[in-house]
């Protein structure tokens, strides 16, 4: 079968060998978890518990405040130690609930099991997803219930399950596909029911052929089809994957809804199934701990709120000379200034390595490689210049807001210019100008 793909993109070193064949391990739960009330795209949740209260595992401790928000749940049973600001992977303090683990995993008594989730109505599925606080687990952490609620005027025909895992080093999604293929497909089926789509397409990069073979054997009961896509970064970026599989282009500034598509990551699909079938809220997730600064790289299932330090300690600790810690993948992840930030719903990996001395930046020689590799068809060097010289109108006109910050431009830049940094800055400035205007 011919592998599908999108134009442009890059081929960074994959670096998946250290963990690819390591099965997902349940990490022992730490003595203390720190659960931020803001782990998703949108508004933070409101705390539902006070200091000193006892909580069950999976008990809702933060309530979604609006449509674009998500509830958070206790990831251990125990006592609330504090509700206050704590360091967050985004780098600044966020209101968080700290729990002391009593080690008993006492389950919320009212977990709502469903005998056959496939008979649920779309609204019931959405409700369960919302109650479980599920957000996109690929990294962007967009509230999933919103994604399952297409506007009436935009009929959905296709659900795409994203098994690309195009970020180098990360292997957690691959392990999920190898170890929980049934749950993923069942979750996909629920997404299909909730959105009224006709079919499910699963896209898997061709460096994960084993996962492709396995899932393909199991698609029979569902209206699902599995496709191998080319191993190329950023194949798993929503808009590029839609183009690769369907040839449809999400309009600029639009959403996959606009072309009749809903995209869900494999981990999210599994979480949706767990929520519908056994009423399990999103209180743990799969992630990869790797990079050559980690002594024993592993794929783990970790409770939300586990501090990074506990995660790295469980993986044998860090090598002495580690000077960089990344949450997420090497292309789009966030660098961490300390190890006390907790694992959140969007944590797809914890990576550590020793970064060589930063290379000197040269002038842009207009080689055009950033243009050649940009999966969105932008001109990163031009955007960089506009932002650098405060010409935001120019930056917006040249598509700054279309940038998905995948980093392909900067990766291929021979002058080592921090292009993504400049474009991100420009996007922020443009958006805050817009907010000021509308206010």
């Amino acid at each position: 079968m011919k592998t599908k793909t999108f134009p442009h993109g890059i081929h960074p070193p994959e670096g998946k060998e250290p963990t690819a064949e390591k099965t997902l391990e349940f990490m022992p739960h730490p003595e203390k978890v720190v659960i931020p009330l803001h782990q998703h795209f949108g508004n933070p949740a409101e705390p539902l518990v006070k200091k000193g209260e006892e909580v069950f595992l999976g008990q809702k401790i933060g309530e979604a405040t609006s449509l674009f928000s998500a509830s958070v749940h206790a990831s251990v049973s125990g006592k609330v130690l504090s509700v206050d600001g704590h360091n967050h992977p985004l780098g600044k303090p966020v209101l968080s609930i700290t729990l002391a683990n009593d080690g008993e995993d006492r389950v919320r008594p009212d977990w709502e099991k469903t005998v056959d989730p496939f008979v649920l109505e779309p609204d019931q599925i959405r409700q369960k997803v919302k109650e479980a606080g599920i957000v996109g687990l690929g990294g962007a952490a967009f509230p999933t219930a919103v994604k399952l609620t297409p506007p009436k005027d935009k009929p959905i025909d296709t659900v795409i399950i994203n098994g690309c895992e195009c970020e180098p080093i990360l292997t957690a999604d691959y392990r999920l596909m190898m170890e929980y293929p049934d749950e993923i497909l069942r979750g996909a089926e629920l997404v299909r029911i909730a959105t009224g789509a006709d079919r499910i397409l699963v896209g898997i990069e061709d460096n994960k052929k084993k996962a492709f073979d396995l899932i393909q054997q199991k698609t029979a009961p569902y209206s699902a089809e599995v496709f191998l896509v080319k191993t190329k970064y950023p194949q798993g970026a929503e808009k590029n994957l839609i183009y690769a599989l369907l040839g449809r282009e999400v309009p600029r500034g639009g959403l996959p809804f606009d072309v009749g598509v809903v995209v869900q990551n494999v981990g999210t699909a599994k979480a949706i199934w767990d929520a519908a079938k056994i009423g399990k809220p999103l209180y743990e997730r799969a992630l990869t701990v790797s990079g050559n600064g980690i002594k024993e790289p592993k794929n783990l299932i970790v409770r939300i709120g586990t501090p990074f330090l506990a995660v790295t300690d469980y993986c044998g600790g860090l090598n002495e000379d580690v000077n960089i810690i990344i949450m997420g993948g090497p292309m789009m992840g966030l660098s961490q200034w300390a190890l006390d930030a907790p694992v959140i719903k969007g944590t797809s990996g914890v990576l550590a390595w020793t970064s060589p001395k930063p290379v000197a930046e040269f002038a842009c020689i207009r080689c055009g490689r950033c243009v050649e590799h940009c999966p969105m068809g932008l001109v990163p060097t031009q955007l960089m210049k506009y932002v650098k010289y405060d010409q935001l109108t120019g930056a917006e006109d040249w598509g700054a807001l279309d940038c998905v910050e995948c980093g392909s431009c900067q990766y291929s830049c021979p002058a080592k210019i921090p292009l993504v940094h400049w474009i991100r800055l420009g996007k922020n400035q443009i958006m805050s100008q817009k907010r000021k205007k509308s206010a």
Partner: protein, 325 residues
């Protein structure tokens, strides 16, 4: 452990291996066969030109970086070396070393640094230096001697293109044989005569993907088509396209000068227009202009259009509903 501070940086945290100095280094390596050929054919005269141009370009670059308080690591990006090499290669063997130095200073100072240094110049710096010399010292820039390998003791000698233009070489049947053009055993600027040496270097650039293949392809296509039409119509009056490709500065221009990243368009559509424009201009100047050679002015002329081309022919943004330009 938790007190340890880590590096905070903006994503991506992976960086490709290519760098500006590496790109420049490959171009320098690619120029070496032609440099060797020029030394073989023009001996010490060539060596003198290389030494003066390289030293003068490097010194000018250093002085400007220092005066503009720019980081001195830019000195090692290799661009001054390339400018020096290319400028020397496009000089006639008879040129005095003082003029070579003047040309080098103009190339780096006026051609590049006044615009803001590497990446900001509009014109190819080496060609700016050469155009200055050509205008200021026209006689010195067009006095040719035969290569040392010919062992003839004459003071002046026509280049293949001069021969074609001013001596009616096609009608007289004295057109320079292709074999001599191929090996470089003929008159001309020191680095432009040997087609084989230039093509060897070009092969490396293609293989390493250092240059945009569209530029030489477009130039060669346009020039072949333009000169080919006349040749087909009157083979007894006009030189064949392959003569135009192998003679004069076409190869060094098409592969090493028009392809300068800074002064060529960024995306494919504009690149094609730029390349085809250069090819046609060369044909026009060579066949109908006052000069026998037109590569330098054609490239400089099309360089002026690059900002316009970059602005007009933008790539299409994914999901753009408007018609692509």
């Amino acid at each position: 452990m938790s007190e340890k501070a880590f590096i905070i940086q903006s994503s991506p945290h992976f960086q490709g291996k290519d760098s500006v100095p590496k790109i420049m280094f490959i171009v320098i390596i690619a120029l070496l066969p032609a440099v060797a050929a020029s030394v073989y054919y023009f001996r010490l005269r060539a060596v003198g030109l290389y030494v003066s141009c390289l030293a003068a370009c490097f010194a000018t670059e250093a002085i400007f970086l220092w005066a503009r308080k720019k980081p001195l690591h830019s000195l090692w990006d290799g661009s001054a070396v390339i400018t020096g090499l290319l400028l020397a290669m496009t000089m006639p063997p008879t040129l005095s070393l003082e003029l070579a130095v003047i040309g080098s200073v103009v190339a780096v100072a006026i051609g590049k640094q006044v615009f803001g240094g590497l990446g900001h110049n509009i014109f190819n710096p080496a060609l700016v230096g050469r155009a200055f010399l050509q205008t200021a010292f026209p006689v010195a820039m067009t006095t040719w001697i035969p290569p040392a390998t010919l062992n003839v003791d004459i003071m002046t000698y026509a280049t293949p293109l001069g021969n074609l233009k001013f001596e009616e070489a096609v009608i007289q049947g004295t057109l320079t044989p292709i074999k001599e053009l191929f090996w470089g055993n003929t008159g001309g600027c020191i680095g432009e005569t040997s087609a084989i040496a230039l093509l060897l270097g070009a092969l490396l650039l293609f293989f390493k993907k250092t240059i945009d293949w569209r530029i030489p392809t477009g130039i060669l296509l346009a020039l072949s088509a333009f000169t080919g039409i006349f040749w087909l119509a009157g083979p007894d009056k006009y030189a064949p396209p392959y003569f135009h490709i192998l003679a004069g500065g076409l190869l060094i221009g098409a592969f090493f000068m028009a392809t300068d990243m800074v002064t060529s368009p960024i995306y494919s559509k504009g690149t094609w227009i730029y390349a085809l424009g250069i090819g046609i201009m060369i044909g026009l100047i060579r066949m109908f202009g006052g000069f026998s050679e037109g590569v330098m002015y054609s490239i400089l002329f099309m360089n002026t259009f690059v900002p316009l081309l970059n602005r007009t022919f933008r790539p299409r943004i994914l999901g753009d509903r408007r018609k692509p330009s």
